[in-house]
């Protein structure tokens, strides 16, 4: 995507955010002229932007909404919920298009139809004036496609995509070879070459002026072609030939295929005890495969099938879903995304305060000085000078300070205000509350509190989950609220603030609170804890049981919460960000859920351990001690192992067994790493304990994201990848 489009995408998102906020405010107070003007301006800028980059369909749709708002400004039409809803629908459509543009640089093929549908919303014959003219749907004549299809009937049967590439006349000077470009295209079936302008006489020909139009049929998907031509899309017309088959299974990469097949094998071998684990793991991997391929629709259908499998206790639903996709039976376009469950895979551009960049530039100057100073030391060393040690120590101290500053400076670049995630909630709340016929007022506080970009972006999903739960289960319906003497409109608070090195995000509601008795009952029924353990728990401890896996008090599965995943997902996500979750409940008065998150993705101290020759990292902050014990010290307790450590029984987890690694011999003595996870000690048996160092943890991405048992990865000094174990998962 060129810079121009990138800028356009950024601005579109900002305008949509602005317009959404304005429209929601306008819905509450229809007389607020300033908000109306501001929304109008946002639509107007959107239209202008779309016009400049030649996305006519988008300009047309936004123009429709702009017309609607302009009549509202003139007072010809009233500001109604319908008008606001229509404008919001237009913005939804714009965001979908913008996502598509960000992905492949152009509007989808059917954009003009969607635009017409939006325009129609604003021209329902309610006297809106000129905007009410039904706009005829303009179908672009696509003669060249028909020509090449007719010319090559055989290739036409296989072709999924037609491409017309008109290289610029001076493209040879910029090292572009259009023929080589086409030769490299995936799935090439035919190529037709013709001149842009009629050919001159041979003697008048300038061989270095390109005068070619290349028309191609390909059996590759539109997406693949888009990818291959990413840098010259502005000179290409790409037409998908079968709109009904949007993403057939043949577009799966080999890696993806073999991963999916491996999941099927895993599912076949599933029996009895490890059923839930294997199904969940296969589902997560399969869903990741599709997320990595940007197919959210398929990923969601896999997630649904996983939930169904878990609920029915059979592998069939998930296995069928994977098979169907593998063998092209279900190569239908994915179901539309349920609102608010989109996954943020596309990297968004970051706007950075110029002052922050300036301070980094200053820092580079200082670093250059420090480098030169070391050069001086090198020269001294070459001359055989004595007493270099002191000098080197000084230089090291300077470098240490500068690199520390650089690290802080760079982390500060990645800082975003919580507003980025908070501002999505007014809109969501409108939908969720309407779906449940509850009135909820959202109060946000501290939305300018800053946190690392990664944290702000990951925050959305757990927050959404808690908010849904609060509205669905926490807040009573209107009648019940009135009967209790509460205001009919409930209040939901979203609050962010800094607390030392942490960022705290609080979600409060004034609903019925958590019914501790009911939690006790369910925890016992579902085997989350034993009766003895429960008896020893305080009320606050019982309340936190709702974050345990397998716990969900939803008596009926609604479309909103209770989709087979409970609050344990919230805790998993927050813990993955390096944070903790707390909950406070006052019966009858409300609930507060609190996420305590690190301010930035900080350096973590890592200890390297190895098992069966493979190295893994363990976050050192969880490690309490390491010890070597004789083989007799470990006792078998049923199927598990344990040791007695200072009069306390500590379970032993053998890393080899846990990770299914069985290569090589192991020494007789056992090396144990005792770790404290959630207040419980566990000992991890490893083969060797290695070095310790500081590392910046990267969360796993792409196909590996969400792999159970792994917290992230980092690079070792020799350049190899070190996987960091998730002790919580291992010790569970």
């Amino acid at each position: 995507m060129n810079e121009f489009l990138e800028q356009f995408v950024i601005e579109c998102r900002e305008q949509v955010e602005q317009a959404t906020a304005d429209l929601l405010a306008l819905e509450k107070s229809p007389l607020n002229i300033e908000r109306l003007d501001s929304a109008f301006r946002a639509f107007h800028s959107l239209k202008g932007g779309a016009g400049i980059v030649d996305f006519d369909a988008m300009a047309e749709a936004v123009h429709g909404a702009e017309d609607g708002l302009s009549y509202a400004r003139k007072g010809t039409v009233a500001i109604s919920t319908t008008l606001i809803g229509d404008c919001l629908a237009c913005l939804d459509q714009v965001i979908q298009w913008v996502d598509e543009i960000a992905r492949c640089g152009d509007l989808p093929k059917d954009a003009s139809k969607e635009a017409a549908a939006i325009v129609a919303r604003f021209s329902r014959g309610d006297g809106m004036g000129p905007g009410a003219d039904p706009r005829p749907e303009v179908e672009q004549p696509v003669g060249w496609v028909a020509t090449i299809l007719a010319k090559h009937p055989d290739a036409a049967r296989e072709a999924q995509c037609a491409l017309r590439y008109t290289p610029s006349a001076d493209c040879f000077f910029s090292q572009e070879d259009p023929l080589a470009r086409i030769a490299r295209l995936p799935g090439l079936l035919t190529i037709d070459v013709s001149p842009v302008h009629p050919w001159p006489q041979l003697c008048d020909l300038d061989p270095f002026q390109c005068n070619l139009v290349l028309v191609v049929l390909s059996s590759a998907s539109e997406t693949e072609i888009h990818k291959a031509l990413a840098d010259i899309l502005d000179r290409c017309h790409i037409e998908a030939l079968e709109a009904t088959v949007r993403r057939p299974a043949s577009s799966l990469s080999l890696d993806a295929r073999s991963l999916l097949e491996a999941q099927l094998t895993l599912l076949e071998s599933t029996d009895g005890d490890d059923f839930a684990g294997k199904v969940a793991s296969a589902g997560a991997v399969a869903a990741n495969v599709f997320l990595a391929q940007c197919d959210n629709g398929l990923a969601i259908s896999i997630e649904k099938a996983t939930a169904q499998s878990l609920a029915e206790g059979q592998t069939a639903p998930i296995a069928r879903a994977i098979e169907a996709i593998l063998f092209e039976e279900a190569a239908k376009p994915g179901a539309p995304l349920p609102f608010g469950t989109e996954h943020e895979t596309t990297a968004r551009a970051l706007r950075i305060d110029a002052r922050r960049v300036d301070s980094l530039v200053d820092l580079t100057t200082e670093l250059t000085v420090a480098k030169n100073a070391i050069g001086h030391v090198v020269a001294l060393a070459q001359n055989g000078d004595e007493g270099l040690e002191q000098l080197l120590k000084q230089r090291f101290a300077v470098l240490d300070r500068l690199i520390g500053e650089l690290q802080q400076g760079v982390l500060a670049l990645r800082v975003l205000p919580l507003r980025h995630v908070f501002q999505r909630f007014p809109r969501l709340l409108r939908e969720i509350a309407a779906g449940l016929d509850k009135s909820v007022n959202l109060v946000t506080e501290g939305s300018e509190t800053e946190a690392d970009k990664a944290i702000v972006e990951m925050l959305f999903e757990p927050l959404l989950h808690v908010v849904r739960n609060a509205i669905d289960h926490g807040i009573e319906d209107k009648a019940a609220r009135l009967a209790l003497g509460k205001p009919a409109v409930a209040t939901l608070g979203l609050r962010g603030y800094r607390e030392g090195e942490n960022v705290v995000v609080e979600i409060t509601d004034d609903g019925q609170g958590i019914n501790v008795e009911r939690v006790r009952q369910v925890a016992i029924d579902r085997g989350v804890v034993t009766a003895e353990a429960l008896a020893a728990m305080s009320e606050a401890q019982v309340t936190t049981l709702i974050f345990e896996p397998g716990f969900s008090t939803a008596q009926s599965v609604t479309g909103l919460s209770g989709r087979g995943v409970g609050m344990d997902v919230v805790r998993t996500k927050v813990v993955r960000m390096g944070g903790t979750v707390g909950i406070e409940s006052r019966p009858g008065a409300g609930t507060a859920v609190r996420f305590t998150l690190p301010f930035s993705v900080m350096l973590t101290r890592i200890m390297v351990v190895s098992a069966a020759g493979q190295k893994f990292g363990i976050p050192l902050d969880a490690v309490v001690e390491t010890l070597r014990v004789g083989p007799d010290a470990i006792a078998r307790v049923g199927a598990a192992q344990a040791i007695v450590l200072r009069n306390q029984t500590v379970p032993v987890i053998d890393l080899r067994e846990a990770l299914n690694l069985h290569e090589g011999d192991r020494r007789r003595d056992a090396i144990l790493v005792v770790a404290n996870v959630d207040g419980v000690s566990s000992a991890l048996r490893v083969d060797v304990i290695g070095e310790r160092f500081d590392a910046m943890l990267k969360p796993l991405e792409g196909l590996l994201s969400g792999t159970p048992g792994l917290a992230g990865s980092t690079l070792l000094g020799d350049g190899s990848v070190l996987l960091i174990l998730d002790l919580t998962e291992l010790c569970r």
């Binding site: 259009p178 023929l179 086409i182 070459v193 041979l202 061989p207 005068n211 070619l212």
Partner: protein, 78 residues
């Protein structure tokens, strides 16, 4: 150079013909009223070179060695 005129007056394209070949090829083809080009050992052809062939329409001795080039052959006289 991957374009050269053989003694018999036939212009031979061989190996990977870069854009720089377009100019000498253009000269050879202008000089010969009934030009012939042998591209049997040609592996790739820069678009600039192909463009010269399209305008000059010489008699082509083929087929060329490469799959992609064989697809292009239809645009040139045999």
């Amino acid at each position: 150079m991957t374009v050269k005129a053989a003694v018999n007056g036939i212009v031979v394209l061989s190996g990977e013909c870069p854009s720089e070949d377009a100019e000498p090829l253009h000269r050879y083809l202008l000089a010969d009223p009934v030009p012939t080009v042998d591209w049997r050992t040609c592996e790739t052809l820069h678009a600039a070179v192909f463009q010269v062939l399209l305008v000059a329409r010489p008699h082509m001795v083929g087929p060329p060695g490469d799959d992609f080039l064989r697809r292009l052959a239809g645009h040139l006289p045999r």
